[in-house]
C-alpha cells in the first residue's frame, strides 16, 4: 500500500498525471526557507509552493515547479519560459512596469541582526560611522540606503544573505538588515552568537508574478484560489505550519501529508494534517 502511494506521489510530483488539464510552469528560487526550499530528500516545498499547488488543485490546472535564479525569474516570464513567479516577490513600481502582480498575499517587515551581547539598538545602528550589511537587490539593502546611509551609515552589500551573516560574525560589520523570517532563522541557527536588534516596520507586500498584461488569464484564477484558501481556513493553517516549526519537522510532516493535497486534492485537510504533524 505504501509502495503504491509512493509511486502515485512520484508520478504526481514528477510526471504530472496528464488528465488533459492545462499545465503552467511556476518559477521559484528554491533556496529561501520557509517560503521555498529543497528538502533533505530533494522535494520542493515551502509556503509559496504549497499555496501554488493548492490553488492549482482548486482551480483545476496542473503546475510544474522549476528552480530558477531569483534575478532570472522576471526575464524568464517575460520571455515565455515560465508562467507564474512564486518566490516572495515584493510588489514594486519598477517590477510592475515589466510584469503583472497578483493581489498581495504576504506582508513582510525588515529586521536587524547583531552579534549577541553587542547590545546595539536600532537607534544606535542608524548613526554616523556604523557599518551595516544587506543582500544586494533586496528590500533590506534599499531600506538601509534610503534611511541610514544619509545619517552616515556605510552599507556593505553581499551576493547572498548567509555571506552577510558570516561577515557579521567575523566582526567586519555591525548588523545585517533583511526580512524578518530569515533574520529569525539566522538567530535560531547561530544560537548564542546572534540576536535581533529590532524589527523595522516597512510593510512591504509580496505578490505572485505573471507576464505583463496576463495573456493567459492566470491572475483571476490565482486570486480566486487565494480567496478560497482563506475562506476555508487552509491559508491560516499553512502559515501556522510553515512559520515557526523547525524545518526538519516541516519536511517530515510535508512528506506524510502531501498526498492529501496532490492525490486526494483536498487543500483544507492537507493543511490540517500539516499543522497536526508539526505540532506532534
Amino acid at each position: 500500500m505504501r509502495a503504491i502511494g509512493a509511486v502515485v506521489l512520484a508520478a504526481v510530483l514528477f510526471g504530472g498525471l496528464a488528465l488533459g488539464q492545462e499545465k503552467y510552469v511556476v518559477l521559484s528560487d528554491i533556496a529561501w526557507a520557509p517560503f521555498e526550499w529543497v528538502s533533505q530528500k530533494g522535494f520542493y516545498l515551502g509556503f509559496d509552493l504549497d499555496v501554488m499547488r493548492a490553488i492549482a488543485v482548486l482551480e483545476g490546472y496542473e503546475i510544474e515547479i522549476r528552480d530558477t535564479p531569483f534575478d532570472s525569474i522576471i526575464p524568464a516570464i517575460s520571455a515565455g519560459k515560465g508562467d507564474i513567479g512564486a518566490s516572495g516577490f515584493t510588489i514594486t513600481e519598477e517590477r510592475a512596469q515589466v510584469i503583472s502582480f497578483s493581489v498581495a498575499y504576504w506582508e513582510a517587515n525588515q529586521a536587524a541582526v547583531v552579534r549577541a551581547g553587542s547590545g546595539l539598538t536600532l537607534e544606535q545602528l542608524g548613526a554616523k560611522g556604523r557599518k551595516v550589511g544587506a543582500q544586494r537587490g533586496t528590500t533590506g539593502a534599499f531600506w538601509v540606503e534610503d534611511n541610514w546611509v544619509p545619517k552616515g551609515v556605510t552599507l556593505v552589500e553581499y551576493e547572498t544573505y548567509p555571506e552577510a551573516i558570516l561577515d557579521l560574525l567575523a566582526g567586519r560589520i555591525e548588523a545585517v538588515v533583511a526580512d524578518v523570517d530569515p533574520s529569525k532563522m539566522a538567530v535560531a541557527q547561530y544560537k548564542g552568537k546572534l540576536e535581533l536588534a529590532g524589527v523595522i516596520e516597512t510593510g512591504e507586500r509580496y505578490g505572485f508574478v505573471v507576464r505583463k498584461g496576463d495573456p493567459k488569464g492566470l491572475l483571476p484564477r490565482i486570486e480566486r484560489g487565494i480567496a478560497k484558501l482563506k475562506a476555508s481556513g487552509a491559508w491560516d493553517l499553512l502559515i501556522q505550519a510553515y512559520f515557526g516549526p523547525a524545518l526538519g519537522k516541516i519536511e517530515a510532516a510535508w512528506e506524510k501529508c502531501i498526498p492529501i493535497l496532490l492525490v486526494e486534492k483536498d487543500p483544507l485537510r492537507y493543511a490540517q494534517c500539516l499543522v497536526a504533524e508539526v505540532n506532534k
Binding site: W37, P75, P162, Q189
Partner: protein, 225 residues
C-alpha cells in the same frame, strides 16, 4: 567551524556529488563541442582563403570577447525570440562550448603555425594534396603540441560549468545553496567541500591529459622544445 558543523556536511555529500555529476556532463558536452568547432575554426583561420579566414577570426573574436554569463543569457533567452525552445542544460553546453571553441581555436592556431612551412612543401613534393598534407602531416603534430595548452583550457572550463546555475541548471554550487538555505552555519564548510571536489576533478583531468601526452609523444617531435 568545529567538528560538529563538519559532521553535518558529511550526510550532504551525496547531494553535492549528484550536483557535481551535472558539472561533469556539461564539461564533457562543452569541451567536445569546443574541440570540434575549435579545430575547424583554427584550420579556417590558418589555411582558408581571406574572406573565410576573416569570418573565422570574427567568430573567435566574438566568443572570446563576450562575458560568459552574458553568453548564457543570450543562448537561453535569445533562442526563444525565434520560437526555438531550448533547455537550460543545452543552452549552457552550447554557450560555454562555443566560447571554449574560440579559446581552443587559438591554442590550435598557434600549434598549426609552429609547424614549419617546409613540411607542407615537402609533403606536396611527395605527391600529397594540400588537404592531405594538412590532414596527415601538419594536424597530427599540431594536436600533440596543443595538449599542454589544452589542459589549461580544460581546468578553466571545468570551473566555468558552475556558471550554468545563472540560467537555472542545478549543478554543484546550487546543491550547496539548497543545503545552505536550511542551515546558514554550513555556508563555509560547504564552500570548502565544493572547492575540494573541484581540486580533485582538476587533478584527475590534468593527470589523464598528462598520460595522453606521454602516450602520444613522438620521439624527436616534442624534443625540439
Amino acid at each position: 567551524m568545529d567538528l560538529e558543523t563538519w559532521a553535518k556536511v558529511v550526510p550532504e555529500l551525496p547531494k553535492l556529488l549528484q550536483g557535481l555529476l551535472v558539472n561533469v556532463e556539461i564539461l564533457l558536452g562543452l569541451i567536445s563541442l569546443g574541440f570540434v568547432v575549435g579545430v575547424g575554426a583554427a584550420l579556417l583561420e590558418v589555411y582558408a582563403p581571406r574572406p573565410v579566414g576573416f569570418l573565422a577570426s570574427a567568430y573567435t573574436w566574438f566568443f572570446r570577447g563576450v562575458p560568459e554569463i552574458v553568453l548564457l543569457f543570450l543562448f537561453y533567452f535569445g533562442f526563444d525570440q525565434f520560437g526555438i525552445k531550448i533547455s537550460a542544460f543545452l543552452a549552457a553546453v552550447l554557450a560555454l562550448g562555443f566560447r571554449s571553441s574560440a579559446y581552443q581555436a587559438q591554442i590550435f592556431r598557434g600549434a598549426l603555425l609552429s609547424i614549419p612551412a617546409g613540411q607542407v612543401m615537402a609533403a606536396r613534393a611527395l605527391g600529397l594534396s594540400r588537404l592531405g598534407a594538412i590532414r596527415y602531416v601538419v594536424l597530427p603534430q599540431a594536436l600533440r603540441l596543443s595538449l599542454a595548452g589544452w589542459s589549461n583550457e580544460f581546468s578553466s572550463v571545468l570551473k566555468d560549468t558552475t556558471l550554468a546555475w545563472g540560467i537555472g541548471v542545478v549543478e554543484v554550487t546550487r546543491q550547496a545553496s539548497y543545503i545552505r538555505a536550511t542551515d546558514f552555519t554550513l555556508t563555509l564548510p560547504l564552500y570548502l567541500t565544493v572547492a575540494l571536489l573541484f581540486l580533485v576533478l582538476t587533478y584527475a583531468g590534468n593527470f589523464a591529459i598528462g598520460m595522453a601526452e606521454k602516450r602520444l609523444r613522438v620521439p624527436g617531435l616534442e624534443g625540439r622544445r
